[in-house]
């Protein structure tokens, strides 16, 4: 029906302008077309990688093209504007054949379910991926993406600052009480520095990990907020962060907190593996450990997963799958080390990733977090809920608001 309606509107649009019929070369058009020219099947591949990684990607794409006489993949790199582009493409029924994907709840309707393709590859293909990742690349019972990378969160700390304050560095067994104590000492002993930082306006998707770590979540399996988002355990979490900010040992940052950590203004913060390259380049003397726990159970992390998906409207699905297989192979996992954390057991082992102290915690957190499903996969209109939650969190953490945790969460749960 959608297509019919769109076609009718387009016809009406062009009918008014091309009475003479000079627009008759329309129809299939040559923009995306049937994707065939010169005997080669053309595959459009869209990624969100930023400028400096694109050359490496292009080289990998070229490699694939050289090995395949009948397929030609073109790389389209959209960086931070990826979502705008994909939304526009999906809204206009003109999507890339293959694209990076993370937000399955929002885009699944435009994507091809990949379960039958995966089955054809045999058991071992699927088994080699870290199991948790499949949850994050599925929606409503179907798999829509093959994992290519991920990050969990972990606690970053600045070794120099800990040395300056004369206290022990964090370990994988730290609890939040340890963090609070260390923060206090750092803030007192190091002039102009804060022990800990967290985001003033955290992305609700990320923040749910703290609720999980304390034994609750935004919603239950039925998607009910009441009694979950505003449960005592949830309130405890928010209260703890707010208290740290109030007593001055932590600062709530306007952005992710990476800049403050890089500049050596903060001693610790929790973040994904995104900043590792930057911190190394800057020469920051840092360490990474598991997210601190609330004491009673191991801490849990959210997963930010990257997958690679196929458009359901792709005209060359076999070729697209061929490319997806290539892109998710062991070879490519190795190739992407430094840009993405590898997602295959075999690669993590062969490359000795677990022996690298700055990467190992992300895998420990991955293993520890396997049984959790983010509310974004459960709650129907997540993007709107997320916007409301974001505002509620800000009311708690913004120093010019600092509202009562209990009141704000109770109100938020009434939506």
């Amino acid at each position: 029906m959608r297509k019919k309606l769109v076609a009718m509107l387009i016809l009406a649009m062009t009918g008014t302008m091309f009475l003479g019929g000079c627009g008759s070369d329309g129809g299939s058009g040559s923009g995306g077309g049937d994707g065939k020219s010169g005997g080669k099947v053309k595959i459009r591949f869209a990624s969100w990688d930023e400028a400096e990684d694109v050359d490496a990607q292009q080289a990998a794409v070229d490699k694939f093209n050289d090995a395949h006489d009948d397929i030609e993949v073109t790389l389209e790199a959209y960086g931070g504007e990826f979502d705008t582009k994909i939304s526009a493409g999906m809204g206009s029924n003109d999507m890339p054949d293959v694209m990076y994907m993370w937000n399955y709840p929002a885009y699944s309707q435009g994507l091809e379910p990949l379960d039958t393709y995966i089955e054809k590859e045999g058991e071992d293909y699927k088994k080699n991926f870290y199991d948790t990742l499949w949850n994050y690349n599925s929606y409503d019972g179907s798999t829509y993406g093959i994992p290519i990378g991920f990050t969990t969160h972990a606690l970053f700390y600045n070794k120099d600052i800990f040395a300056e304050a004369g206290i022990d560095e964090p370990t994988n067994d730290w609890t939040w009480e340890d963090v609070q104590a260390a923060s206090k000492t750092i803030t007192e002993k190091c002039e102009g520095k804060k022990g800990f930082s967290f985001q003033m306006k955290p992305d609700p998707y990320d923040y749910e990990m703290y609720l999980w770590s304390n034994g609750t979540a935004y919603v239950d399996a039925e998607g009910t907020l009441e009694g979950n988002l505003n449960s005592d355990k949830a309130k405890e979490v928010f209260q703890m962060f707010q208290d740290m900010e109030k007593e001055g040992s932590a600062v709530a940052t306007e952005k992710s907190g990476t800049d403050e950590f890089r500049a050596g203004n903060t001693g610790m913060y929790v973040y994904g593996s995104w900043s590792i390259n930057t911190l190394k380049e800057d020469g920051v003397n840092f360490g990474v450990v598991n997210i601190p726990s609330f004491g009673s159970q191991p801490s849990i992390s959210i997963l930010s997963s990257s997958g690679i998906s196929m458009s359901k409207d792709s005209k060359n699905k076999e070729a697209a799958w061929e490319f997806i297989k290539f892109w998710t192979s062991e070879e490519m996992n190795k190739e992407r080390i430094g840009m993405e954390l590898p997602v295959l057991y075999s690669v993590v082992e062969s490359e000795g990733i677990m022996e690298q102290p700055e990467y190992a915690p992300f895998y420990t957190m991955l293993e520890q977090s396997s049984d959790y499903t983010p509310s974004s996969f459960i709650y129907g209109s997540w993007s709107e809920l997320s916007e409301n939650l974001s505002l509620s969190f800000e009311r708690v953490f913004n120093p010019s608001a600092m509202e009562n945790v209990s009141d704000v969460l109770d109100e938020a749960a009434q939506q």
């Binding site: 073109t74 389209e76 809204g91 206009s92 800057d282």
Partner: protein, 273 residues
Amino acid sequence: MKMSKISKTIIYILLGIMALYFLSPFVYMLFTAFKTEAEAVAYPPKLFPAKWLWQNFADAWNAQPFGTFLWNSLLVTVGTTLGQVISCSLVAYGFARFNFKGKNVLFMVLLSTMMIPWDVTMIPQYMEFKMFGWINTLKPLIIPAWFGSAYYIFLMRQFLMGIPKDFEEAARIDGANAFQIYWKIFMPILKPSLILVGVLNMISVWNDYLGPLIFLQDRSKYTLALGLAAFKGVHETQIIPMLCITIIMIIPPIIIFIIAQKYIVEGTSGSIK
């Protein structure tokens, strides 16, 4: 009229204050472009880099095929500016110097087209360009400009309406036709505003990244602004290369502006004293 010393001093003080506001963020950006990333985020901030890293600019330029992007940007900018200047002056002349049936309605329609945000017309526009086979070409960025844009038409019309009515009467009596009057009488005195439209259009096209983002696909078709935006990632932004390219991108429009300044003044009978 000669200006007194006091008023000159006042003018310099005012110019200085305003220059401080406009220039200091720019200068800060310029100096930061020479720093390392670590220096750029350091606090307390320092104005000067520890070492002037000219290499930053070369690195940034080589991070992406900016040579290609520059060529595309030039094509789009020159292409649209020519089209915009020609068609806007024609259309504005039509609206400003004639009376015809439906003029007011048409003019309101013209203004109305500026009032709907691009967010919601973009998707149908995309489908239309796709039907033309224009996606992944520079055509959607250039061709529509040849049919005038409401903003510049409106601007030109305002200038044209500021010219006294009897201006063309003499020529009309001489037997010149409407196009001759437009071309021979109005174009010369409109030169400053034509240059103005050209400059304004150039700047906005040069920096536009949403249009290229939506309508282009291959990197070989990208424009500078789109390459610039690509330094901004989903999680991290490569700030130093971004600033370097920003600064490089400022240079051509500034040169054009400095040249254009002269013509904007030249078109009239002299400066105000």
